[in-house]
Protein backbone atom coordinates (compact mmCIF):
# COMPACT_ATOMS: atom_id res chain seq x y z
CA UNK A 1 0.00 0.00 0.00
CA UNK A 2 1.56 3.26 -1.06
CA UNK A 3 0.48 6.86 -1.45
CA UNK A 4 0.93 8.56 -4.80
CA UNK A 5 1.26 12.19 -5.81
CA UNK A 6 -0.02 13.80 -8.99
CA UNK A 7 0.65 17.26 -10.37
CA UNK A 8 -2.60 18.55 -11.87
CA UNK A 9 -1.75 21.13 -14.53
CA UNK A 10 -4.06 24.11 -14.98
CA UNK A 11 -4.15 26.94 -17.48
CA UNK A 12 -6.37 30.00 -17.51
CA UNK A 13 -8.11 28.93 -14.31
CA UNK A 14 -9.09 25.50 -15.72
CA UNK A 15 -7.60 22.08 -15.28
CA UNK A 16 -6.09 20.60 -18.43
CA UNK A 17 -6.80 17.08 -19.67
CA UNK A 18 -3.29 16.04 -18.61
CA UNK A 19 -4.27 16.84 -15.02
CA UNK A 20 -6.92 14.10 -15.07
CA UNK A 21 -4.52 11.73 -16.81
CA UNK A 22 -1.89 12.25 -14.09
CA UNK A 23 -4.40 11.72 -11.26
CA UNK A 24 -5.90 8.67 -12.96
CA UNK A 25 -2.47 7.10 -13.52
CA UNK A 26 -1.54 7.77 -9.88
CA UNK A 27 -4.84 6.17 -8.76
CA UNK A 28 -4.11 3.09 -10.84
CA UNK A 29 -0.60 2.81 -9.39
CA UNK A 30 -1.91 3.21 -5.82
CA UNK A 31 -4.54 0.52 -6.36
CA UNK A 32 -1.94 -1.81 -7.80
CA UNK A 33 -0.03 -1.59 -4.50
CA UNK A 34 -3.13 -2.57 -2.53
CA UNK A 35 -4.64 0.91 -2.36
CA UNK A 36 -2.98 3.99 -0.98
CA UNK A 37 -4.10 7.59 -1.14
CA UNK A 38 -3.70 9.84 -4.16
CA UNK A 39 -2.86 13.44 -3.42
CA UNK A 40 -3.07 15.96 -6.23
CA UNK A 41 -1.44 19.38 -6.29
CA UNK A 42 -3.04 22.27 -8.15
CA UNK A 43 -1.50 25.72 -8.50
CA UNK A 44 -3.57 28.49 -10.02
CA UNK A 45 -5.25 31.85 -9.61
CA UNK A 46 -7.93 32.46 -6.94
CA UNK A 47 -10.97 30.33 -7.81
CA UNK A 48 -8.99 27.30 -9.00
CA UNK A 49 -10.10 25.38 -5.88
CA UNK A 50 -13.53 25.01 -7.43
CA UNK A 51 -12.10 23.26 -10.49
CA UNK A 52 -9.86 21.16 -8.26
CA UNK A 53 -12.80 19.30 -6.72
CA UNK A 54 -13.37 17.52 -10.01
CA UNK A 55 -10.13 15.57 -9.52
CA UNK A 56 -12.01 13.36 -7.06
CA UNK A 57 -13.88 11.91 -9.99
CA UNK A 58 -10.64 10.40 -11.29
CA UNK A 59 -9.48 9.04 -7.96
CA UNK A 60 -7.86 11.85 -5.96
CA UNK A 61 -8.42 11.43 -2.19
CA UNK A 62 -7.05 14.86 -1.43
CA UNK A 63 -6.33 17.93 -3.50
CA UNK A 64 -3.80 20.44 -2.23
CA UNK A 65 -4.68 23.78 -3.74
CA UNK A 66 -2.38 26.76 -3.93
CA UNK A 67 -4.29 29.86 -4.98
CA UNK A 68 -2.27 32.95 -5.79
CA UNK A 69 -2.82 35.85 -8.18
CA UNK A 70 0.74 35.22 -9.44
CA UNK A 71 -0.31 31.74 -10.59
CA UNK A 72 -2.50 32.96 -13.43
CA UNK A 73 0.48 31.77 -15.46
CA UNK A 74 3.16 29.16 -14.96
CA UNK A 75 5.75 30.43 -12.48
CA UNK A 76 8.58 27.89 -12.72
CA UNK A 77 10.55 28.76 -9.60
CA UNK A 78 7.60 29.04 -7.26
CA UNK A 79 5.90 25.96 -8.75
CA UNK A 80 9.08 23.91 -8.35
CA UNK A 81 9.67 25.06 -4.77
CA UNK A 82 6.06 24.30 -3.82
CA UNK A 83 5.91 20.91 -5.50
CA UNK A 84 9.24 19.91 -3.92
CA UNK A 85 7.99 21.00 -0.49
CA UNK A 86 4.73 19.05 -0.86
CA UNK A 87 6.65 15.95 -1.89
CA UNK A 88 8.92 16.27 1.13
CA UNK A 89 5.94 16.76 3.46
CA UNK A 90 4.32 13.47 2.43
CA UNK A 91 5.75 10.02 1.89
CA UNK A 92 4.95 9.27 -1.71
CA UNK A 93 6.13 6.26 -3.66
CA UNK A 94 5.64 7.92 -7.06
CA UNK A 95 5.04 11.49 -8.19
CA UNK A 96 3.33 11.78 -11.57
CA UNK A 97 3.78 14.91 -13.70
CA UNK A 98 2.48 15.38 -17.24
CA UNK A 99 5.13 15.38 -20.00
CA UNK A 100 3.51 18.53 -21.39
CA UNK A 101 5.66 21.59 -22.13
CA UNK A 102 4.99 22.82 -18.58
CA UNK A 103 5.54 19.41 -16.97
CA UNK A 104 8.76 18.88 -18.89
CA UNK A 105 10.02 22.14 -17.43
CA UNK A 106 8.77 21.47 -13.91
CA UNK A 107 9.47 17.76 -13.26
CA UNK A 108 13.27 17.96 -13.80
CA UNK A 109 13.48 20.98 -11.48
CA UNK A 110 11.63 19.10 -8.75
CA UNK A 111 13.77 15.99 -9.25
CA UNK A 112 16.95 18.07 -8.98
CA UNK A 113 15.72 19.85 -5.86
CA UNK A 114 14.92 16.55 -4.16
CA UNK A 115 17.91 14.68 -5.60
CA UNK A 116 15.68 11.88 -6.90
CA UNK A 117 15.39 10.09 -10.21
CA UNK A 118 13.11 11.12 -13.07
CA UNK A 119 11.82 8.94 -15.90
CA UNK A 120 10.60 11.29 -18.64
CA UNK A 121 7.89 10.89 -21.23
CA UNK A 122 6.68 7.46 -20.13
CA UNK A 123 3.60 5.73 -21.48
CA UNK A 124 3.13 3.23 -18.62
CA UNK A 125 4.68 2.54 -15.22
CA UNK A 126 4.33 0.16 -12.30
CA UNK A 127 5.81 -0.56 -8.90
CA UNK A 128 8.01 -3.67 -9.06
CA UNK A 129 9.60 -4.56 -5.71
CA UNK A 130 11.77 -1.69 -4.55
CA UNK A 131 11.86 -0.10 -8.01
CA UNK A 132 9.55 1.48 -10.54
CA UNK A 133 9.52 0.13 -14.08
CA UNK A 134 8.49 2.64 -16.73
CA UNK A 135 8.00 2.28 -20.47
CA UNK A 136 9.49 4.99 -22.64
CA UNK A 137 9.41 5.10 -26.44
CA UNK A 138 12.94 6.28 -27.37
CA UNK A 139 14.92 6.79 -30.57
CA UNK A 140 11.98 8.52 -32.28
CA UNK A 141 9.67 5.73 -31.19
CA UNK A 142 11.76 3.05 -32.91
CA UNK A 143 12.84 1.40 -29.65
CA UNK A 144 10.79 0.66 -26.54
CA UNK A 145 12.91 1.19 -23.46
CA UNK A 146 11.92 -0.13 -20.05
CA UNK A 147 13.48 2.10 -17.41
CA UNK A 148 14.21 1.08 -13.83
CA UNK A 149 13.89 3.86 -11.29
CA UNK A 150 14.97 3.48 -7.66
CA UNK A 151 14.60 5.75 -4.63
CA UNK A 152 11.57 7.62 -3.33
CA UNK A 153 9.71 9.49 -4.42
CA UNK A 154 10.28 8.23 -7.95
CA UNK A 155 9.23 10.92 -10.41
CA UNK A 156 7.70 10.08 -13.76
CA UNK A 157 6.42 12.39 -16.46
CA UNK A 158 3.56 10.91 -18.38
CA UNK A 159 3.17 11.38 -22.13
CA UNK A 160 -0.09 13.27 -22.81
CA UNK A 161 -2.77 10.96 -24.17
CA UNK A 162 -0.88 7.76 -23.31
CA UNK A 163 -3.20 6.70 -20.49
CA UNK A 164 -6.81 7.86 -20.89
CA UNK A 165 -8.28 9.05 -17.58
CA UNK A 166 -10.62 6.50 -15.97
CA UNK A 167 -13.36 7.53 -13.56
CA UNK A 168 -12.92 6.34 -9.96
CA UNK A 169 -15.25 8.74 -8.19
CA UNK A 170 -14.76 9.79 -4.60
CA UNK A 171 -15.11 13.03 -2.66
CA UNK A 172 -11.72 14.67 -2.55
CA UNK A 173 -10.66 16.65 0.52
CA UNK A 174 -9.59 20.07 -0.64
CA UNK A 175 -6.74 21.55 1.39
CA UNK A 176 -5.46 25.07 0.97
CA UNK A 177 -1.67 25.33 0.86
CA UNK A 178 0.58 28.38 0.64
CA UNK A 179 3.30 28.69 -2.00
CA UNK A 180 6.76 27.67 -0.80
CA UNK A 181 8.33 30.60 -2.64
CA UNK A 182 6.76 34.00 -3.31
CA UNK A 183 5.91 34.24 -7.02
CA UNK A 184 6.58 38.00 -6.81
CA UNK A 185 10.23 37.27 -6.00
CA UNK A 186 10.75 35.08 -9.07
CA UNK A 187 13.66 35.81 -11.40
CA UNK A 188 11.93 34.30 -14.43
CA UNK A 189 8.70 36.16 -15.13
CA UNK A 190 6.05 35.45 -17.74
CA UNK A 191 5.09 38.83 -19.16
CA UNK A 192 2.63 37.72 -21.80
CA UNK A 193 0.56 34.68 -22.67
CA UNK A 194 -1.06 34.70 -26.08
CA UNK A 195 -3.75 32.01 -26.14
CA UNK A 196 -4.88 30.45 -29.37
CA UNK A 197 -8.49 30.93 -30.38
CA UNK A 198 -10.52 29.14 -27.72
CA UNK A 199 -12.60 27.35 -30.33
CA UNK A 200 -9.54 25.63 -31.73
CA UNK A 201 -9.08 22.08 -30.45
CA UNK A 202 -5.59 21.41 -29.14
CA UNK A 203 -3.64 18.66 -30.92
CA UNK A 204 -3.02 16.95 -27.59
CA UNK A 205 -6.71 16.78 -26.73
CA UNK A 206 -8.42 16.17 -30.09
CA UNK A 207 -9.74 12.62 -30.66
CA UNK A 208 -9.18 13.04 -34.40
CA UNK A 209 -6.27 14.73 -36.17
CA UNK A 210 -6.15 15.48 -39.89
CA UNK A 211 -2.63 16.35 -40.99
CA UNK A 212 -1.24 17.66 -44.24
CA UNK A 213 2.18 17.34 -45.86
CA UNK A 214 4.07 18.56 -48.89
CA UNK A 215 1.70 16.62 -51.14
CA UNK A 216 -0.75 19.53 -50.75
CA UNK A 217 1.69 21.57 -52.89
CA UNK A 218 0.65 25.03 -51.60
CA UNK A 219 -0.47 26.69 -48.37
CA UNK A 220 -3.93 27.53 -49.72
CA UNK A 221 -4.66 23.83 -50.36
CA UNK A 222 -4.72 23.29 -46.59
CA UNK A 223 -8.35 24.29 -46.94
CA UNK A 224 -8.95 20.67 -48.00
CA UNK A 225 -7.46 19.46 -44.72
CA UNK A 226 -9.44 21.99 -42.71
CA UNK A 227 -12.67 21.02 -44.42
CA UNK A 228 -12.09 17.36 -43.69
CA UNK A 229 -11.32 18.19 -40.04
CA UNK A 230 -14.53 20.23 -39.86
CA UNK A 231 -16.50 17.29 -41.28
CA UNK A 232 -15.29 15.08 -38.42
CA UNK A 233 -16.40 17.78 -35.99
CA UNK A 234 -13.95 16.75 -33.28
CA UNK A 235 -10.70 17.09 -35.24
CA UNK A 236 -7.62 19.29 -34.99
CA UNK A 237 -5.36 20.12 -37.92
CA UNK A 238 -1.70 19.10 -37.90
CA UNK A 239 1.18 19.39 -40.34
CA UNK A 240 4.59 17.95 -41.14
CA UNK A 241 7.86 19.68 -40.43
CA UNK A 242 8.39 20.40 -44.14
CA UNK A 243 5.10 22.29 -44.16
CA UNK A 244 5.77 24.33 -41.01
CA UNK A 245 9.35 25.04 -42.13
CA UNK A 246 7.92 26.51 -45.33
CA UNK A 247 5.55 28.67 -43.33
CA UNK A 248 2.38 27.10 -44.73
CA UNK A 249 1.25 26.44 -41.19
CA UNK A 250 2.40 27.79 -37.78
CA UNK A 251 5.23 25.89 -36.08
CA UNK A 252 2.82 24.95 -33.27
CA UNK A 253 0.95 22.68 -35.74
CA UNK A 254 3.98 20.50 -36.35
CA UNK A 255 3.58 16.83 -35.51
CA UNK A 256 6.75 14.82 -35.14
CA UNK A 257 9.81 14.17 -33.07
CA UNK A 258 10.65 17.87 -32.98
CA UNK A 259 7.04 19.07 -32.72
CA UNK A 260 4.06 17.56 -30.96
CA UNK A 261 3.84 13.87 -30.14
CA UNK A 262 0.20 12.85 -30.34
CA UNK A 263 -1.91 9.73 -29.84
CA UNK A 264 -5.43 10.42 -31.12
CA UNK A 265 -8.06 7.76 -31.82
CA UNK A 266 -7.84 8.56 -35.53
CA UNK A 267 -5.01 10.14 -37.51
CA UNK A 268 -5.58 11.01 -41.16
CA UNK A 269 -2.34 11.70 -43.07
CA UNK A 270 -2.98 13.67 -46.24
CA UNK A 271 -0.13 13.96 -48.75
CA UNK A 272 2.40 12.88 -46.14
CA UNK A 273 5.18 10.51 -47.22
CA UNK A 274 6.03 9.40 -43.67
CA UNK A 275 9.56 10.57 -42.78
CA UNK A 276 10.97 9.05 -39.56
CA UNK A 277 10.70 12.43 -37.86
CA UNK A 278 6.97 12.59 -38.60
CA UNK A 279 6.24 8.95 -37.72
CA UNK A 280 7.81 9.54 -34.30
CA UNK A 281 5.04 12.02 -33.57
CA UNK A 282 2.02 9.99 -34.64
CA UNK A 283 2.78 6.27 -34.68
CA UNK A 284 0.96 5.85 -31.34
CA UNK A 285 -2.37 6.87 -32.91
CA UNK A 286 -4.92 4.09 -32.52
CA UNK A 287 -6.06 4.13 -36.14
CA UNK A 288 -4.06 5.64 -39.00
CA UNK A 289 -5.43 6.50 -42.44
CA UNK A 290 -3.03 7.49 -45.24
CA UNK A 291 -3.92 9.22 -48.49
CA UNK A 292 -1.00 9.49 -50.88
CA UNK A 293 -0.37 9.15 -54.59
CA UNK A 294 2.79 7.09 -54.08
CA UNK A 295 1.87 3.52 -53.13
CA UNK A 296 5.44 2.94 -51.85
CA UNK A 297 5.39 5.90 -49.43
CA UNK A 298 6.57 4.78 -45.94
CA UNK A 299 3.35 6.13 -44.39
CA UNK A 300 1.51 3.06 -45.76
CA UNK A 301 3.72 0.82 -43.57
CA UNK A 302 2.21 2.28 -40.40
CA UNK A 303 -1.28 2.92 -41.79
CA UNK A 304 -4.30 0.76 -40.96
CA UNK A 305 -6.20 2.06 -43.98
CA UNK A 306 -4.97 3.72 -47.10
CA UNK A 307 -6.06 5.19 -50.37
CA UNK A 308 -3.55 5.46 -53.18
CA UNK A 309 -4.62 8.33 -55.36
CA UNK A 310 -4.72 12.03 -56.08
CA UNK A 311 -5.54 13.73 -52.79
CA UNK A 312 -7.22 16.57 -54.65
CA UNK A 313 -9.86 14.05 -55.76
CA UNK A 314 -9.87 11.74 -52.73
CA UNK A 315 -10.04 14.29 -49.89
CA UNK A 316 -13.13 16.25 -51.07
CA UNK A 317 -14.93 12.93 -51.57
CA UNK A 318 -13.89 11.77 -48.11
CA UNK A 319 -15.06 15.05 -46.60
CA UNK A 320 -18.44 14.56 -48.21
CA UNK A 321 -18.77 10.91 -47.09
CA UNK A 322 -17.68 11.68 -43.52
CA UNK A 323 -20.22 14.49 -43.34
CA UNK A 324 -22.91 12.11 -44.59
CA UNK A 325 -21.90 9.36 -42.17
CA UNK A 326 -22.02 11.75 -39.21
CA UNK A 327 -25.39 13.18 -40.08
CA UNK A 328 -26.91 9.81 -41.02
Amino acid sequence: MADMFAFAEARGGELRKVAFEAVSAARHAADATGGGEVHALVLGPPGIAKAAESLGRFGADAVQVVEHPGFERYAPESFAATAAERLKAGSYRIAVFPASVEGRDLAPRVAARLGVGLASDVIAFEVRGDAILAEHPAYTGKVNVTLRLTGTPAIVSLRPGAIPPAEQPRTARVEAVVPAADPAAARVVVTELAQQAAAKLDLGEAPVIVSGGRGLRAAEHFKLVEDLAAAFGNAAVGATRAVTDDGWRPASDQIGQTGRVVSPDLYVAVGISGAIQHLAGMRMAKTIVAINKDKDAPIFKVADYGIVGDLFEVVPRLTEEVRKARSG
Binding site: A112, T140, L147, V190, L266, T287, Y305, G306, D310
Partner: protein
Protein backbone atom coordinates in the same frame (compact mmCIF):
# COMPACT_ATOMS: atom_id res chain seq x y z
CA UNK B 1 29.96 37.21 -23.39
CA UNK B 2 30.92 33.69 -22.36
CA UNK B 3 28.53 30.93 -23.43
CA UNK B 4 28.66 27.20 -22.77
CA UNK B 5 26.77 24.88 -25.13
CA UNK B 6 26.13 21.35 -23.89
CA UNK B 7 25.90 18.92 -26.76
CA UNK B 8 25.00 15.24 -26.99
CA UNK B 9 26.18 12.69 -29.51
CA UNK B 10 23.27 10.52 -30.66
CA UNK B 11 22.76 7.80 -33.25
CA UNK B 12 21.41 8.71 -36.68
CA UNK B 13 17.67 8.15 -36.30
CA UNK B 14 17.15 7.28 -39.97
CA UNK B 15 18.99 3.98 -39.53
CA UNK B 16 17.42 0.65 -38.62
CA UNK B 17 18.02 -0.20 -35.01
CA UNK B 18 18.70 -3.65 -33.59
CA UNK B 19 18.88 -4.67 -29.95
CA UNK B 20 22.19 -6.10 -28.69
CA UNK B 21 22.38 -9.53 -27.07
CA UNK B 22 22.27 -8.04 -23.54
CA UNK B 23 18.72 -6.93 -24.45
CA UNK B 24 19.34 -3.54 -22.86
CA UNK B 25 21.43 -1.66 -25.39
CA UNK B 26 21.55 -0.99 -29.13
CA UNK B 27 23.57 -3.19 -31.44
CA UNK B 28 26.45 -0.84 -32.23
CA UNK B 29 27.52 -2.21 -35.59
CA UNK B 30 26.17 -0.08 -38.40
CA UNK B 31 25.25 2.86 -36.14
CA UNK B 32 26.36 6.32 -37.20
CA UNK B 33 26.53 9.15 -34.69
CA UNK B 34 26.09 12.90 -34.93
CA UNK B 35 25.24 15.95 -32.84
CA UNK B 36 21.62 15.90 -31.62
CA UNK B 37 19.49 18.16 -33.87
CA UNK B 38 18.40 20.67 -31.25
CA UNK B 39 21.96 21.10 -29.98
CA UNK B 40 22.91 22.43 -33.42
CA UNK B 41 20.33 25.19 -32.97
CA UNK B 42 21.66 25.97 -29.49
CA UNK B 43 25.20 26.23 -30.86
CA UNK B 44 24.06 28.49 -33.70
CA UNK B 45 22.33 30.81 -31.21
CA UNK B 46 25.50 30.96 -29.11
CA UNK B 47 27.74 31.71 -32.10
CA UNK B 48 25.45 34.51 -33.29
CA UNK B 49 25.27 36.10 -29.84
CA UNK B 50 29.05 36.20 -29.55
CA UNK B 51 29.33 37.58 -33.10
CA UNK B 52 26.76 40.28 -32.34
CA UNK B 53 28.54 41.29 -29.14
CA UNK B 54 31.85 41.31 -30.92
CA UNK B 55 33.59 39.62 -28.01
CA UNK B 56 33.46 36.50 -25.89
CA UNK B 57 33.72 32.81 -26.56
CA UNK B 58 31.62 29.71 -27.05
CA UNK B 59 32.71 26.65 -25.09
CA UNK B 60 31.36 23.20 -25.94
CA UNK B 61 30.80 20.52 -23.32
CA UNK B 62 29.86 16.94 -24.06
CA UNK B 63 29.68 13.93 -21.78
CA UNK B 64 30.48 10.45 -23.02
CA UNK B 65 33.10 8.08 -24.42
CA UNK B 66 35.89 9.23 -26.75
CA UNK B 67 33.50 9.13 -29.71
CA UNK B 68 32.08 12.48 -28.52
CA UNK B 69 35.37 14.10 -29.53
CA UNK B 70 34.30 13.81 -33.16
CA UNK B 71 31.05 15.66 -32.33
CA UNK B 72 32.96 18.29 -30.37
CA UNK B 73 35.33 18.82 -33.33
CA UNK B 74 32.32 19.38 -35.54
CA UNK B 75 31.11 22.12 -33.17
CA UNK B 76 34.60 23.63 -33.09
CA UNK B 77 34.56 23.65 -36.90
CA UNK B 78 31.29 25.59 -36.78
CA UNK B 79 33.05 28.24 -34.72
CA UNK B 80 33.22 27.36 -31.01
CA UNK B 81 36.49 28.39 -29.35
CA UNK B 82 37.23 25.31 -27.27
CA UNK B 83 35.71 22.10 -26.01
CA UNK B 84 35.55 19.90 -22.93
CA UNK B 85 34.85 16.17 -22.94
CA UNK B 86 33.54 14.85 -19.64
CA UNK B 87 34.69 11.31 -20.07
CA UNK B 88 32.40 8.42 -19.19
CA UNK B 89 32.18 4.90 -20.66
CA UNK B 90 28.62 5.62 -21.66
CA UNK B 91 26.05 8.37 -21.24
CA UNK B 92 23.84 7.34 -18.33
CA UNK B 93 20.12 7.43 -19.02
CA UNK B 94 19.80 9.11 -15.59
CA UNK B 95 19.51 12.82 -16.44
CA UNK B 96 20.28 13.91 -12.88
CA UNK B 97 23.66 12.19 -12.82
CA UNK B 98 24.53 13.79 -16.18
CA UNK B 99 23.35 17.14 -14.81
CA UNK B 100 25.55 16.74 -11.73
CA UNK B 101 28.63 16.15 -13.86
CA UNK B 102 27.82 19.13 -16.09
CA UNK B 103 27.07 21.40 -13.13
CA UNK B 104 30.40 20.45 -11.53
CA UNK B 105 32.17 21.52 -14.73
CA UNK B 106 30.10 24.64 -15.48
CA UNK B 107 29.66 26.07 -11.96
CA UNK B 108 32.21 28.80 -11.29
CA UNK B 109 33.10 28.90 -15.00
CA UNK B 110 31.87 32.49 -15.29
CA UNK B 111 29.35 31.70 -18.02
CA UNK B 112 26.71 34.29 -18.90
CA UNK B 113 24.63 31.65 -20.62
CA UNK B 114 24.52 27.87 -20.56
CA UNK B 115 22.63 26.53 -23.56
CA UNK B 116 21.06 23.16 -24.26
CA UNK B 117 18.98 21.84 -27.12
CA UNK B 118 15.32 21.43 -26.12
CA UNK B 119 15.85 17.69 -25.91
CA UNK B 120 18.21 15.02 -27.18
CA UNK B 121 16.70 13.16 -30.10
CA UNK B 122 17.49 9.73 -28.63
CA UNK B 123 15.81 9.96 -25.22
CA UNK B 124 13.53 12.93 -26.00
CA UNK B 125 13.65 13.82 -22.32
CA UNK B 126 14.82 17.44 -22.12
CA UNK B 127 15.49 17.09 -18.41
CA UNK B 128 19.21 17.83 -18.08
CA UNK B 129 19.04 21.58 -18.81
CA UNK B 130 16.55 22.52 -16.07
CA UNK B 131 18.31 20.12 -13.68
CA UNK B 132 21.66 21.87 -14.24
CA UNK B 133 19.94 25.22 -13.62
CA UNK B 134 18.52 23.99 -10.31
CA UNK B 135 21.85 22.51 -9.22
CA UNK B 136 23.61 25.80 -10.01
CA UNK B 137 20.77 27.92 -8.62
CA UNK B 138 20.45 30.04 -11.77
CA UNK B 139 17.30 31.04 -13.71
CA UNK B 140 16.17 28.73 -16.49
CA UNK B 141 13.86 29.01 -19.48
CA UNK B 142 13.14 25.92 -21.58
CA UNK B 143 12.04 25.31 -25.18
CA UNK B 144 12.83 28.80 -26.45
CA UNK B 145 11.76 29.65 -30.00
CA UNK B 146 12.88 33.30 -29.96
CA UNK B 147 15.54 35.11 -27.92
CA UNK B 148 16.64 38.73 -27.37
CA UNK B 149 19.34 39.93 -24.98
CA UNK B 150 19.85 43.48 -23.79
CA UNK B 151 21.63 44.97 -20.77
CA UNK B 152 22.07 41.77 -18.82
CA UNK B 153 18.48 40.63 -19.30
CA UNK B 154 16.87 38.29 -21.75
CA UNK B 155 13.44 38.07 -23.31
CA UNK B 156 12.40 34.71 -24.70
CA UNK B 157 9.37 33.27 -26.37
CA UNK B 158 8.26 29.69 -25.88
CA UNK B 159 5.49 27.73 -27.54
CA UNK B 160 3.19 25.97 -25.12
CA UNK B 161 0.49 23.68 -26.41
CA UNK B 162 -1.96 26.11 -27.94
CA UNK B 163 -0.36 29.25 -26.50
CA UNK B 164 2.76 31.37 -26.78
CA UNK B 165 4.49 32.63 -23.65
CA UNK B 166 6.86 35.60 -23.40
CA UNK B 167 9.32 35.34 -20.53
CA UNK B 168 11.89 37.74 -19.05
CA UNK B 169 14.93 36.63 -17.10
CA UNK B 170 18.26 37.96 -15.77
CA UNK B 171 21.72 36.62 -16.71
CA UNK B 172 23.42 34.33 -16.02
CA UNK B 173 20.83 31.77 -17.08
CA UNK B 174 20.37 28.26 -18.42
CA UNK B 175 18.30 28.11 -21.61
CA UNK B 176 17.06 25.25 -23.74
CA UNK B 177 16.62 26.02 -27.41
CA UNK B 178 13.86 24.79 -29.69
CA UNK B 179 14.46 24.17 -33.35
CA UNK B 180 13.78 26.78 -35.99
CA UNK B 181 15.21 29.65 -33.96
CA UNK B 182 18.37 29.88 -36.11
CA UNK B 183 19.30 27.32 -38.73
CA UNK B 184 22.72 25.84 -37.83
CA UNK B 185 25.52 26.89 -40.16
CA UNK B 186 27.60 24.38 -42.05
CA UNK B 187 31.27 24.18 -41.16
CA UNK B 188 33.55 25.67 -43.81
CA UNK B 189 36.71 23.92 -44.93
CA UNK B 190 38.67 26.66 -43.16
CA UNK B 191 36.64 26.02 -40.02
CA UNK B 192 37.33 22.30 -40.21
CA UNK B 193 41.06 22.91 -40.54
CA UNK B 194 41.06 25.41 -37.67
CA UNK B 195 39.08 23.02 -35.44
CA UNK B 196 41.93 20.52 -35.45
CA UNK B 197 44.13 22.98 -33.55
CA UNK B 198 41.52 24.23 -31.09
CA UNK B 199 41.82 23.04 -27.47
CA UNK B 200 39.83 19.95 -26.47
CA UNK B 201 40.23 19.12 -22.82
CA UNK B 202 39.35 15.67 -21.42
CA UNK B 203 38.24 15.33 -17.80
CA UNK B 204 36.51 12.54 -15.87
CA UNK B 205 32.74 12.96 -15.51
CA UNK B 206 31.62 13.27 -11.86
CA UNK B 207 28.39 11.32 -12.32
CA UNK B 208 27.60 10.42 -8.70
CA UNK B 209 24.77 8.11 -7.79
CA UNK B 210 22.70 6.65 -10.63
CA UNK B 211 19.02 5.99 -9.91
CA UNK B 212 17.65 5.49 -13.38
CA UNK B 213 18.90 2.62 -15.54
CA UNK B 214 17.78 0.71 -18.59
CA UNK B 215 16.08 -2.51 -17.56
CA UNK B 216 15.48 -3.74 -21.10
CA UNK B 217 15.03 -2.64 -24.69
CA UNK B 218 12.80 -4.06 -27.37
CA UNK B 219 11.72 -3.14 -30.84
CA UNK B 220 8.07 -2.15 -30.91
CA UNK B 221 5.77 -4.68 -32.56
CA UNK B 222 5.47 -3.91 -36.26
CA UNK B 223 2.07 -2.54 -37.13
CA UNK B 224 0.26 -5.36 -38.81
CA UNK B 225 0.13 -3.50 -42.12
CA UNK B 226 -2.90 -1.95 -43.72
CA UNK B 227 -6.23 -3.79 -43.43
CA UNK B 228 -7.40 -2.04 -46.56
CA UNK B 229 -5.74 -0.05 -49.31
CA UNK B 230 -8.05 1.32 -51.98
CA UNK B 231 -7.44 3.04 -55.24
CA UNK B 232 -8.60 6.61 -55.94
CA UNK B 233 -11.78 8.44 -54.87
CA UNK B 234 -14.00 5.41 -55.59
CA UNK B 235 -12.41 3.67 -52.59
CA UNK B 236 -13.75 6.35 -50.22
CA UNK B 237 -17.13 4.72 -49.40
CA UNK B 238 -15.46 1.47 -48.35
CA UNK B 239 -12.92 3.38 -46.27
CA UNK B 240 -15.68 5.29 -44.47
CA UNK B 241 -17.63 2.07 -43.95
CA UNK B 242 -14.56 0.43 -42.36
CA UNK B 243 -13.81 3.47 -40.18
CA UNK B 244 -17.35 3.14 -38.94
CA UNK B 245 -17.76 -0.58 -38.38
CA UNK B 246 -14.21 -1.91 -38.00
CA UNK B 247 -12.22 0.94 -36.40
CA UNK B 248 -15.33 2.48 -34.78
CA UNK B 249 -13.97 6.00 -35.04
CA UNK B 250 -16.93 7.49 -36.88
Amino acid sequence: MKIAVCIKRVPDMELRFAIASDRKSLEQSGLKYDMSDFDGYALEVALRLVEQQGSGEVVLVSLGPDGVQETLRKGLAMGAARAVQLKADEVPVDGLSVARALAAELGGGGYDLILFGRMATDTASGAVGPMVAELLGVPCVTAISHLDLAEGRGTARRDLEGAVETVQFPLPAVLSIDEGIARPRLATLKGIMAAKKKPLEVKPAALGEVRLTVESMALPPERSGPKFVGDGPDAVPELVQRLRTEAKVL
